[in-house]
Symmetry: C2
Subunit: 126 residues, 2 copies
């Protein structure tokens, strides 16, 4: 179920994503907004923003949840699928605007796929 009422928590969270072009982990958001929003609320608002097609989520290499802005998704249609990149040096995670095509697999029906690429980001690949 998506967002029904505009609240301060929602504004604060959306503001974090305006300021940041990279993905942000739920854990990091909890730290950043520690004095302003309870962690339960953060998880709940993120969940609703995802339902509404405002954000999308995925798991980083250690299994923690990351969120990033969606481009062109709506409450009913989520179409912004893409790989993600995690820098092993600085930990930064971001969305990759590339298409990787997944081959057909005999006798199986492929529905989704999640690709996480690890390496060094522009700043860290000296």
């Amino acid at each position: 179920m998506g967002i029904i009422r505009k609240t301060v928590s929602i504004d604060l969270l959306l503001n974090e994503f305006e300021q940041e072009s990279n993905a942000i982990s739920a854990v990091d958001l909890i730290k950043r907004l520690d004095k302003q929003i309870n962690k339960t609320t953060i998880y709940r608002v993120l969940d609703k923003l995802e339902d509404d097609g405002v954000l999308h989520s995925f798991l980083g290499f250690d299994g923690v949840k990351w969120y990033a802005k969606c481009k062109g998704c709506t409450k009913s249609v989520h179409k912004d699928f893409h790989p993600h990149f995690q820098c092993l040096s600085c930990g930064t995670v971001d969305c990759l605007n590339i298409h990787v095509n997944i081959p057909e697999i005999p006798n199986r029906e492929v529905l989704f796929s999640q690709l996480l690429i690890q390496g060094k980001c522009e700043a860290c690949a000296a």
Copy 2:
């Protein structure tokens, strides 16, 4: 650090992987061997078997750890990289013997990648 002494726990765990061609989650192994091995030991042995190139691990869609047999890896050289498939109906997870090539990404150094494909397995794709 790998395995130094042959123990009963190791035999029991390896036996599970002999009997099963699919991947097995750590959680499932703990359930299966509940009466025989402590969960701490299970995690530790799995870790060592991975170090030794006997098993490899990856995260399933919900972030839990899965293990499967390696083919042709040794303690020093881990070369058996491949995508994994998780069936959304029955939960089965297995290794895919296919190659998906990851494109170059401008200004970034790609070191690893993990691809998890979700869909319906042969048995469930009626």
